[in-house]
């Protein structure tokens, strides 16, 4: 079973990956946070290391993951995303935290 998830990336990462608008990501199997990010990075390798540390796999401190008006940033990679995200009705939002200048 596969799902197409919409991912909203922050402007710096859209520019880096030469993307515009929402990014469709096809996920096979369970639609977890980790699976979506794995699939996104597989399609756009330039994003590897920009959201998750390359050595540890942990979320970078100033990156946040939102969906359905919930902050999923502290969820483990195995966390299953809401059904509305899996169906494509709602996006997974990746954003840079408000910090610095």
């Amino acid at each position: 079973m596969s799902a197409t998830v919409r991912v909203v990336l922050p402007a710096p990462l859209r520019t880096l990956a030469a993307l515009t608008g929402d990014v469709p990501v096809q996920v096979d199997g369970a639609v977890t946070l980790g699976a979506v990010l794995d699939a996104l990075e597989a399609c756009h390798p330039v994003l590897r290391g920009t959201m998750r540390d390359r050595a540890t796999g942990r979320r970078r401190p100033f990156v946040r993951f939102f969906a359905c008006e919930e902050d999923l940033s502290h969820e483990p990679p195995s966390a299953v995303l809401p059904a509305a995200v899996a169906s494509g009705a709602e996006p997974l939002v990746v954003l840079g935290a408000m910090a610095g200048g």
């Binding site: 710096p12 290391g49 920009t50 390359r54 050595a55 970078r60 100033f62 990156v63 935290a97």
Partner: protein
């Protein structure tokens, strides 16, 4: 020589400044990677169209970019900097062991002979090498592993390997400088390393004459005399006449011997340039006058170069990677400031003009003399 290309890294992107050999009119291209910190941009000495750039932010980490057309277009290449083996620990600010963690690339040093080989100096301090045009990176682990690594401590800017100098006479010899550990030398292509800090004196550390622990800001050499090394230390301008085996102070009559960059004239191995800064607490020029100092005697005797530079109310800094020279005749000298100006002198420093003056804070300046 048909022209000069100046590669500028700033807090918010990279810029490419180009001129013909007269160096009188400049075209400014950029920003490239707008919004990202670009710590360093440097071209290959053997293929000037091959340029490497280090792009990073605190939000999204490290990206390495490569251009194969002289900076007109860029492609992201490899950004996986994995410490070899068990990364281990170094000293943290409070003296406790702290795991080695990659933060960013401070400096990229392309090989003198192969455009696909490039070295990267990173924070936390380590040296990496790529032999495939920066697609993949391998740590030269003998540097961290030579013995003193667990005792290195970060300076105020982080624990960074910020300077890599390749010896053009003996390509197996290279130097790396780390804040705050000091200078290290390898004579076997980076496999093994030894600290070369004898003669450095730093009252800011418990043993001022310790073999390791000095906050070296920058080292430079002239290709015709590679055994002579010049150093701008946190405080003190130093020189070694034996490939780093020993150092002696050549601060002489400088108004302050604190500073960051140091550069050597392209055609005169004993002509050296520094930019004195008032103190480590006040990162601006003495008397609010921006002055480059030139020594034609390998140090000790210095003359201020002021023509065209602001001589009042000037409170900018010039960072360690932000000064370079071209190889035209007369030699051109270039430096960038934290105020966003890039100054150039087409006559070895006698007179200066700002070739661009409102960039983001300048982190690095590298110059390519184009055939």
């Amino acid at each position: 020589m048909s022209g000069v290309r100046v590669l500028v890294g700033t807090r918010k992107g990279a810029f490419v400044l180009t001129s013909d050999g007269t160096r009188s009119a400049w075209e400014v291209d950029g920003p490239f990677f707008g919004g990202w910190e670009v710590y360093h941009v440097k071209g290959s000495p053997v293929d000037p169209d091959r340029i490497y750039a280090s792009q990073s932010t605190g939000w999204f980490g490290q990206v390495v970019q490569r251009s194969d057309d002289g900076g007109k277009s860029w492609s992201a290449v490899g950004n996986e900097f994995a410490y070899a083996g068990e990364a281990g620990t170094h000293q943290w600010y409070d003296g406790t062991p702290h795991p080695w963690e990659f933060a960013r690339v401070w400096h990229l040093e392309p090989s003198l002979t192969d455009p696909d080989t490039v070295y990267a100096g990173v924070e936390d301090a380590a040296l990496f090498r790529s032999v495939d045009g920066a697609k993949s990176w391998e740590e030269l682990a003998g540097l961290r592993g030579h013995g003193s690594g667990p005792h290195w401590q970060p300076g105020a800017g982080g624990m960074c390997l910020h300077t890599i100098v390749l010896d053009p006479r003996d390509q197996g010899r290279m130097f790396a400088a780390i804040s705050a550990a000091g200078v290290f030398r390898s004579d076997d292509w980076g496999k093994t390393w030894e600290p070369v800090n004898r003669g450095l004196h730093s009252p800011q550390i418990p043993d001022p004459d310790a073999p390791v622990g000095h906050c070296v800001h920058r080292i430079a050499l002239h290709p015709a005399r590679p055994d002579v090394l010049y150093m701008q230390k946190h405080w003190d301008v130093m020189r070694s006449d034996d490939g780093g085996g020993s150092w002696h102070e050549v601060s002489g009559d400088l108004p302050s011997d604190f500073g960051f960059p140091i550069a050597v004239h392209a055609h005169e191995p004993s002509t050296v340039y520094v930019v004195p800064i008032k103190s480590d607490g006040e990162h601006y020029p003495p008397d609010a006058k921006l002055r480059v100092y030139r020594s034609r005697t390998g140090g000790d005797e210095w003359e201020p170069l002021t023509k065209g530079l602001p001589q009042g109310n000037c409170y900018v800094n010039v960072l360690r990677d932000a000064m370079d020279v071209d190889s035209l005749d007369p030699c051109g000298i270039y430096f960038g400031t934290t105020g966003g100006q890039v100054y150039a002198s087409a006559d070895s420093g006698n007179a200066w003009v700002p070739i661009v003056r409102d960039l983001p804070a300048v982190l690095s300046v590298e110059v390519q003399s184009l055939p």
